[in-house]
């Protein structure tokens, strides 16, 4: 426990703990100090000088965000002198680069620099404009970087380093040549380290970093916002979705979500909305738009002519729990119902074993062991937690039986194939020797015989060290809601072709929901294309067009995540709500409702 100290701010007496900054104390006491480069949960930078304050007895002004409160000090946050200095600082910021407000996507209310310029009465700039020749980096898929609008506050750099943990962005050169760089000066689209998580864009106070899909589509401050759950992986991060005129304008992480605390990966941040896809908005019969009645009549007719024992339903693991229950409820009208999952996922989702507060375990872990899991690819926010844990807290990292990823660079041990030799495990034991709060993050491969032996070995290691309970276990399935689907009684199917081919099939209903690829992945499995071609009636229920929907006799348009009400079960077994963000487009219907209508 640190020492309590007392000080006054604007004459108001405040108390705090030693080490707290003046800004923290002020904000705890509802005293406003303007800020620009400061950002919650990032290290202080003290670069913009907008938060300057006066301390009695000191001739200097100091940045409140980077100055610890001193016992007995008297702080002033507002005075004619501070106003004058802040205004001058802002004018210098405006004069340095080419801030052409009227054409900026952040104009009209979304810009932090404007927000400071207005109350400080900056109506013109007394300094000569530099008009530097600066470029725009538009090589990235989802976002661009316009150096003209950068104020070098480093919020993006600190976010990239401290939150996503990849440190793709940094500052290069000196003086007026200072600029944000990507890796060793490459384009955003050429970066080998950027994960496209877009946290830098969310952190940027100006229009320097901007989401391409968001530009001019709506001012965020005037958008409707809905908090919902990310539908892209089983982590279940909280989303804050911005809409205008019933259209998604932007998706940020929900800062109130305990799990992701405002952070997202590329999938949640962009693939949820910014990747253009061909939406199906009407039922299709042999490729032609028809009414629901016509489509359903055809499907019912097809079912009537196909014996139950030759009728099959296969569902995506992305569906909601409600859709899963609806499918389970009609299982007796079909020979078999299943949901496709990756190999070994069945065993993983069957017995989810999770420690109490995963977010806290991840935040405090001093050692991570990754086993048969691909967080960088599949669960980006977990990967970010591992990266920052290793890089910022010095946590140990042991990677066993995982594909190559950027995490390998930070690992104490990273092996593709795990040896069971004593020498290897001695090394593992050495690395984990001082681990007090280890976390084991495992995926489906951990359920293989090899995986189980590794788990046994790990248990031995921790038992030998006498660290008590051993590591906190975090199981990460691959399917978005495979846990919920299986819990609802839908059979997990690891190899689709043999499962389908086990008996003759006359009628196949594929419930694909809002699979981004429209279910085209199914065609990648060996023999699947031939198998599907041999089934007389294939009904595809999907949101997006694909080769699969093109080949189907009937296509039933399903709603997407942003239109649904329902729940998803995340990797910790919690049921998380999906809230409707936008109205249903076209004639799309909820998956559960479609299933109920087909088998009514």
């Amino acid at each position: 426990m640190s020492t309590p100290i007392k000080l006054t701010i604007n004459g108001q007496s405040c108390s705090c703990q030693a080490g707290q900054t003046i800004l923290e104390v002020a904000s705890a006491n509802n005293i406003y100090i303007p800020t620009l480069c400061w950002m919650k949960d990032r290290s202080p930078w003290g670069g913009c000088r907008v938060c300057i304050v006066e301390i009695e007895g000191s001739p200097k002004v100091v940045p409140a965000c980077a100055t610890p409160a001193a016992d007995g000090s008297a702080v002033t946050t507002n005075s004619p002198r501070l106003q004058r200095l802040r205004k001058m600082t802002l004018e210098l910021l405006f004069s340095e680069r080419n801030h052409v407000c009227p054409i900026c996507p952040m104009n009209k209310g979304d810009c932090g620099l404007q927000h400071q310029g207005y109350p400080h009465g900056v109506d013109s700039i007394r300094f000569p404009y530099l008009f530097p020749a600066l470029s725009m980096d538009l090589t990235g898929r989802y976002f661009g970087l316009d150096h003209n609008r950068c104020i070098l506050c480093t919020r993006c750099v600190r976010t990239c380093d401290e939150i996503e943990g990849v440190h793709t962005l940094d500052i290069a050169n000196r003086g007026e040549k200072n600029e944000v760089v990507v890796d060793l000066h490459v384009g955003l689209g050429e970066s080998e380290t950027c994960t496209q998580c877009g946290a830098c864009v969310a952190a940027c106070p100006t229009g320097a970093l901007f989401d391409k899909a968001q530009t001019y589509r709506g001012k965020l401050h005037s958008c409707r916002t809905v908090k919902t759950t990310c539908p892209e992986c089983p982590v279940g991060c909280g989303l804050e979705v911005f809409t205008k005129e019933d259209r998604i304008v932007e998706v940020f992480g929900d800062s109130d979500s305990q799990l992701n605390a405002g952070h997202l990966c590329k999938k949640g941040r962009y693939e949820t909305w910014a990747a253009p896809r061909h939406r199906i908005t009407q039922p299709l019969l042999h490729g032609k738009p028809v009414s629901w009645d016509e489509a359903l009549a055809f499907v019912r007719q097809a079912r009537a002519t196909s014996p139950v024992w030759e009728s099959v339903l296969l569902a995506s693991p992305r569906l909601t729990n409600e859709a899963a229950h609806a499918i389970h409820a009609v299982a007796d009208k079909l020979d078999r119902v299943g949901t496709y999952v990756v190999p070994n996922e069945a065993a993983l989702v069957d017995a989810p074993e999770q420690p109490g507060d995963v977010a806290q375990h991840l935040a405090e872990a001093d050692a991570f062991i990754l086993l048969g899991v691909q967080p960088v690819r599949d669960h980006g926010v977990i990967a970010a937690r591992v990266r920052t844990g290793v890089r910022k807290r010095g946590a140990k990292l042991v990677i066993l039986d995982c594909r190559r990823s950027d995490l390998d660079a930070y690992a104490d041990i990273a092996v593709r194939e795990v040896s069971l030799e004593r020498k290897f495990w001695a090394r593992v034991a050495e690395v984990l020797r001082d681990a007090k709060r280890p976390v084991l993050i495992y995926g489906p491969t951990a359920m293989t015989p090899v995986g189980v032996s590794v788990l046994d070995k790990l248990t031995e290691v921790f038992r030998a060290q006498g660290t008590g309970e051993g590591p906190a276990l975090v199981g990460l399935p691959s399917g978005v809601n495979s846990i919920g689907m299986v819990a609802a009684g839908v059979e997990p199917v690891e190899e689709v072709a043999p499962w389908l081919d086990a008996k003759p099939v006359q009628y196949l209903h594929l419930v694909l929901g809002d699979e981004p690829d429209g279910g085209a992945q199914l065609l990648e499995e060996k023999h699947m294309a031939d198998l599907l071609a041999g089934i007389p009636c294939v009904v595809v229920q999907a949101s997006y067009r694909s080769k699969l929907t093109d080949a189907a006799q009937v296509v039933l348009p399903a709603t997407i995540w942003a239109e649904k009400t329902g729940t998803l079960t995340n990797f910790t077994g919690r049921m998380l709500p999906l809230r409707p963000v936008v109205p249903v487009r076209g004639a799309g219907r909820d998956d559960a409702a479609i299933v109920e209508a087909v088998y009514a």
Binding site: L138, G140, T215, Y216, R217, K244, E245, D246
Partner: protein
């Protein structure tokens, strides 16, 4: 002994832009040539390079604050083409409604604020009061009507787009704001008064035509080709459609030309003495390929107008065997008929229930390496053409603006007026104003025309054959 001389008028006022006029006299003191110089250049075709293509919709309207909507919409259409999307029907309706608002306000401004002082107060009246403020003093009721008609157009833009000038509303793929029922109803309520003002202006002008028939018919009257957009059936079109070119007699030369193929038909020449380029019909060459665009051209080349009131006016336009109207003075008349069309078309759009739909935006990423957006700005055909890379970075920009197309014609008009009114080396106020008025007929939007770098105060200089300014004419720029 009088050598060849040049008269300079600077600045040309009460037009939307920066220009000067020089009138060159020969040794006999007769008009040898007259040139309309645009003196501003801004460089849009260069400095847009490297920007994100979606920003173009915000950057290019800053070419012109009088018809920013034209640039907004032409730019948005070019960006739609780059995305390769068809915008939702409601988005197209809203864009067209916004454009009708602009047509109304811009034409009202041209007629009431800029030209009416000449018509009502007289070309030879005191220049100190021959302006909109003088009109307010001399004929407040007329001034109020004009002000309110323009305001109605501006309010239509504001209701649709959220702001009167430089709105952030059309975006690549559609628009970002739906029209509420309340906004729609408010606009419908304003229609009767606007119709009345438009009718009033037409009657006023037609009365002037009667009184000054000879001057009106012969005012900078000359043959030219015409170009503009028409609907598939040849009807007047301002937002979309295909290009039609006619000869000086109104015979169709090219019809239903896909606007994205403009480069096959239109080329430009540059001259040392103006910052505004000179577009010409490629097949006819320079300068024989002179053509006119804008209200006069549109009425000359359209087959009909799809709204009843405006179409009735078009019949008058065509009355007495007039296949085309050639006097530059008739630009005013054409403009007022187009105000009527704008009001009728807006009324049609406002009565369509689909206009309040919120399905107004199509998504996409750049699919095409270039995109062309063409539309009929108040002053004529406006062409935006952008080339982009895969990331959406603008690599090249080509712009041909409405006023540019008329450059050759405006020079011809100035020459025609100068020949008629400059009879001696003495510069008389009424004469100078008529030279300006010839330009004003074209309502040149020189901020548009000078997107390239420059501007247009007007100067008339009297220059002798040796190039020396003989009579600086007390109108030279300070």
């Amino acid at each position: 002994m009088i050598e060849n001389q040049t008269i300079t008028i600077n600045p040309v006022t009460r037009i939307e832009g920066h220009a000067k006029i020089t009138i060159h006299l020969d040794a006999q003191g007769e008009v040898d040539d007259a040139r309309f110089h645009v003196v501003e250049f801004r460089g849009f075709e260069k400095f847009c390079e490297g920007r994100y293509f979606a920003e173009m919709v915000q950057i290019t309207p800053r070419i012109c604050g009088i018809c920013p909507v034209s640039h907004l919409l032409a730019s948005a259409k070019a960006c739609d083409a780059i995305l390769g999307v068809t915008i939702p029907p409601a988005a197209k309706m809203l864009r067209e409604l916004m454009h009708m608002g602009q047509t109304i306000q811009s034409h009202a401004l041209s007629f009431f604020h800029l030209s009416a002082p000449d018509l009502l107060l007289g070309f030879d009246s005191d220049p100190a009061t021959r302006n909109v403020m003088g009109l307010i003093a001399a004929a407040p009721d007329i001034a109020r009507k004009g002000i309110r008609l323009r305001k109605y157009g501006q309010e239509m833009i504001k209701a649709t787009a959220g702001r009167k000038i430089h709105a952030e509303f059309p975006v690549p793929g559609g628009v970002n704001k739906a029209l509420t029922v309340a906004e729609r109803d408010e606009l419908l309520r304003g229609l009767p008064e606007a119709y009345e003002a438009a009718r009033f202006a037409l009657d006023l002008l037609l009365g002037y035509h009667e009184k000054h028939q000879h001057e009106v018919e012969s005012f900078a009257s000359f043959d030219s080709n015409y170009a503009g957009l028409v609907q598939p059936d040849g009807a007047l079109e301002l937002y979309d459609g295909n290009l039609r070119f006619t000869d000086p007699h109104g015979n169709i030369v090219h019809d239903q030309v896909d606007p994205s193929r403009y480069l096959d038909y239109i080329r430009e020449a540059a001259e040392a003495w103006s910052y505004m380029k000179f577009p010409f019909i490629q097949k006819l060459g320079y300068p024989q390929g002179m053509y006119r665009v804008g209200p006069l051209a549109r009425l000359n080349l359209c087959t009909k107008i799809a709204t009843p009131k405006a179409n009735a006016e078009l019949r008058l336009w065509r009355a007495n065997g007039h296949a085309v109207r050639t006097s530059s003075f008739f630009y005013h008349w054409a403009r007022l008929i187009e105000i009527l069309y704008g009001l009728e078309r807006a009324e049609q759009l406002l009565h369509d229930p689909a206009i309040t739909s919120t399905d107004i935006l199509a998504s996409g990423t750049p699919q095409n390496a270039d995109g062309v957006g063409v539309m009929e700005a108040p002053r004529g055909t406006l062409i935006h053409h952008y080339w982009v890379d895969e990331g959406g970075r603008v690599e090249k920009v080509n712009l041909i603006v409405a006023t540019g197309h008329n450059n050759l014609a405006m020079n011809r008009a100035v020459r025609a007026v100068a020949k008629k009114y400059v009879k001696s080396q003495r510069l008389q106020e009424g004469m100078l104003n008529r030279v300006e008025a010839a330009i004003r007929c074209y309502d040149p939007c020189l901020s548009c025309a000078t997107h390239a770098v420059g501007k247009m105060p007007m100067v008339v200089e009297l220059v002798d054959a040796a190039g020396a300014v003989v009579d600086a004419a007390a109108r030279d720029a300070a």
